[in-house]
Amino acid sequence: MPRFSSFKLAVCAALVSLASPGVSLASGPSPVELTQITHRPASLTLVMPGGEQVEYTPAALEQLNTYEMTTRTPWRDDEAVFQGVLLRDLLERHGMADVKAIRVRAENDFTITMDRAVWEGESFLIATRVDGRPHSRRERGPIQFVLDWDAYRNSDVADENHLVWMAAEITVVE
């Protein structure tokens, strides 16, 4: 077995750390316990492959495991604490984790198709609260897809179009 000098080891270590930049810096959503609050009227409807629909209010969404994340968005210059559930969890709950793609529609009829690689590659938070308050429509709520700012900036798969605000419907694309 070849014997590495300490210098070579140091170089290897430096190379490894260069090869995976930001791994230790990225702060994704972390689990959090949320107390119940009164949300603004809103809903997120899941349309299954067979056409079956499930409607979630923000409160209903929060029945899943909840997370929070302190980050900014393209429309916020200052950081805010976003709380909500993971898109991945929601899809898994309905057996939609391995579908090819989903189409997300907003209340203002904005529509975007997300390939599986997008939600598998990045941890999308479906935010229902901002800074402990119910998310409002005028703050791009009440249901908003949020990504950690650094992860968003460095992402190869996600872009601004995936940060859907006023999210209203998720449809499976077959």
């Binding site: 429309w75 203002n108 904005f110 005028r138 605000w165």
Partner: protein
């Protein structure tokens, strides 16, 4: 001009400048492209930011609100569902306005006009205020909403128009950018094409020069080791190869060949014919030994050499025979049949090792001696260097050593033979003739002069005679008040690059002999290649004041070429013509012709070899006024000859039958 430019580029300085210029060009082009690309990307950002989309979607959002208003008017009551819808439509507009607001400040920072976002915020504020105060008059609400919607719509259209102009501007910028870059790329390509062309020209120049150098080197290599005319190995290569064989003590036989009659071919048919003979001879020699793996070489002129890996004399004799046979075949040249034959000297390493010591130069000397023996024995034959020849060779070497010593020690004697006027037979001068006593015995001049010629000593003898004869005659003339002239023989070798003019001048100055009393007799014993030089030297000698005579005219050597080229004052008719003159009408005709010829060329004629009165009478009848021969005096030691001449001058006698 181009060559000077290219040469300038090909220097170290030129290359550094060219590389730097190329580097700077590429770097500045790269920077220019990068800044252009940045400008294009920046303007593209405008489209990427969905600015226009925001404007259009705002109109859609306005339509959504309008529909809610329509519903409100239709139902004439703000139901909770309609309330939610109205709020949702407002919220959507509000968020859109926030986006528009950002864009407006980025895109049109200096625009003070009321913007669509202002209009939307006013609309939202109005509805928020109305909702907070409670909706009482639906119709009034509708009117005011429609006014706000109309106001916002018109602002949005203005905004979209501005956006369109902005986009047009960016597109124009991009187009200009692309055009500009295309021009820059064109210029760069032109520069690169020019640089590439120059490089290719340089490269081609270099390659052509390299090929030429390689060809010249190959040619030089070839010429260093091969004879260009016959393509046979030359003397250097022959020497190398034979020396190697001899060092390894391998049995070696050398045959040295010399063409007989080559000079006659050259003189009669010209140099082209001579070259053809040399080439054909080369081919024949090479063919004769090809089967045995020997070496055939052309050493110089009409001398060839063959080296074969045998030392058995009978084998060497076989080769010599076959070479003689092959070489005596006539050669066709432009319809002429040229006939030459060869003399060959054969030498075996074994014989040389035994007698002389086995070295290359000994082999060649022995071969030369054997060749010389063949020539002497009648040409067209071969002679093997054997014990008998070895004895002669040793003798010859001994004689040569003694001759060299005699020349350097002044051991040669000057004899004088009188030259007389006819019919008085009064001597007017002498021919100086060299004599050599070796161990108290005279050596025949035929022998030792020939030996001196072969050994390259003849020029030394000439110079010795020149200084001695001029000194003796000058002294005796002065003593006796006489004006005897003297003729000294000069080999034509002197014309091939020696200092003969200075030597003659020195002899004249040292002796004090008036130049007009010195005649230089030139014999054609070597082939003269550079007639121009000969004429130049003769003109210089003439300028000194001395006379030039063509010696032995009518013998095999002196030719009409000599007569034509030499600025001679005197023609000496060879003794061979005189031998038969009394009985031979032909000889008399020839002599008469020579006399006429020389009078035409303003030369005087002197006839050599007059031995009896009959000959004297015949030549006098023909009209010759000067003669030399035993009849008038044999060659005698200088002092005796001059004494006798002085007596005869004092008391002339007539020779008559």
């Amino acid at each position: 001009m181009l060559h000077r430019l290219l040469d300038g580029f090909a220097t170290r300085f030129g290359v550094v400048i060219a590389v730097l210029a190329g580097f700077v060009l590429c770097l500045s082009a790269g920077l220019y492209f990068q800044s252009g690309a940045n400008r294009v990307l920046k303007s593209h950002e405008v489209f990427r930011q969905n600015h226009v989309r925001d404007g259009f979607v705002s109109i859609s959002d306005m339509l959504r609100l309008t529909l809610v208003v329509d519903e409100l008017v239709a139902s004439n009551a703000l139901t909770p569902a309609l309330h939610d819808k109205l709020l949702a439509a407002l919220d959507i507009l509000y968020v859109r306005a926030r986006s528009l607001e950002t864009r407006e400040s980025t895109l049109f920072p200096d625009d003070d006009a009321e913007t669509p976002s202002d209009a939307i915020f006013a609309l939202v504020d109005f509805v928020d205020g109305t909702m907070a105060a409670g909706v009482h008059d639906i119709a009034q609400l509708k009117l005011e909403l429609l006014w706000h919607i109309e106001n916002t719509r018109s602002r949005l259209v203005t905004f979209l128009d501005k956006m369109r102009r902005q986009e047009d501007k960016f597109l124009d910028q991009q187009a200009r950018e692309v055009e500009q870059q295309a021009r820059v790329v064109g210029v760069i390509f032109l520069v690169l094409a020019a640089a590439m062309s120059i490089s290719l020209i340089l490269l081609r120049k270099e390659i052509v020069a390299r090929h030429a150098r390689a060809r010249a080197e190959r040619r030089a290599d070839y010429l260093a080791y091969f004879d260009a005319l016959t393509t046979l190995p030359n003397r250097i290569q022959f020497t190398d190869k034979v020396e190697k064989r001899l060092k390894k003590k391998l049995p070696t036989g050398v045959l040295l060949l010399d063409l007989d009659g080559f000079k006659a071919v050259n003189d009669t048919y010209g140099h082209a014919a001579g070259d053809a003979v040399l080439k054909t001879t080369g081919d024949r020699v090479a063919a004769a030994i090809a089967a045995q793996g020997g070496i055939a070489a052309r050493l110089s002129g009409d001398e060839y050499a063959v080296c074969v890996p045998f030392e058995d004399v009978s084998v060497l004799e076989f080769y010599a025979d076959s070479l003689l046979e092959a070489l005596c075949l006539p050669i066709d040249f432009e319809g002429e049949r040229l006939e030459v034959q060869a003399s060959i000297g054969v030498v075996a390493s074994e014989q040389v090792a035994r007698c002389l010591g086995l070295t290359f130069s000994n082999m060649m000397r022995a071969g030369d001696f054997a060749l010389y023996a063949s020539k002497e024995g009648g040409k067209g034959r071969y002679t093997v260097y054997d014990d008998a020849l070895e004895v002669k060779f040793s003798e010859r070497r001994g004689m040569l050593e003694d001759l060299e010593a005699a020349i350097s020690d002044g051991g040669l004697d000057v004899y004088l033979q009188p030259k007389v006027h006819l019919p008085s037979a009064v001597p007017y001068g002498f021919e100086a003739l060299v004599r050599w006593q070796r161990d108290g015995k005279f050596v025949s001049p035929d022998i030792f002069v020939t030996l001196a010629e072969e050994a390259g000593l003849v020029m030394d003898i000439d110079l010795f005679m020149l200084s001695q004869a001029t000194r003796i005659i000058a002294e005796r003339n002065a003593a006796a008040g006489a004006t005897f002239s003297v003729s000294v023989n000069l080999s034509a070798l002197h014309f091939n690059g020696s200092n003969i003019v200075e030597d003659v001048q020195t002899a004249l100055e040292r002796s004090g002999l008036p130049p007009e009393l010195l005649t230089l007799e030139i014999t054609e014993t070597v082939q003269i290649h550079d007639w121009e030089r000969v004429r130049h030297v003769l003109a210089q000698l003439g300028a000194l004041g001395c006379k030039i005579a063509i010696d032995d005219f009518g013998s095999g050597y002196s030719s009409l070429a000599y007569l034509r080229n030499m600025l001679a004052d005197e023609l000496k008719v060879d003794r061979t013509l005189i031998e038969e003159i009394v009985h031979s009408q032909e000889s008399q005709h020839v002599l008469r012709a020579i006399c006429e010829l020389s009078s035409g060329l303003d030369m005087s004629v002197i006839v050599e070899g007059i031995e009896d009165i009959a000959q004297s009478e015949v030549i006098q009848k023909i009209g010759c006024a000067r003669a030399q021969g035993y009849l008038y005096g044999r060659p005698e030691p200088a002092e005796l000859a001059i004494d006798a001449a002085l007596i005869r001058v004092a008391a002339p006698q007539t020779y008559a039958s």
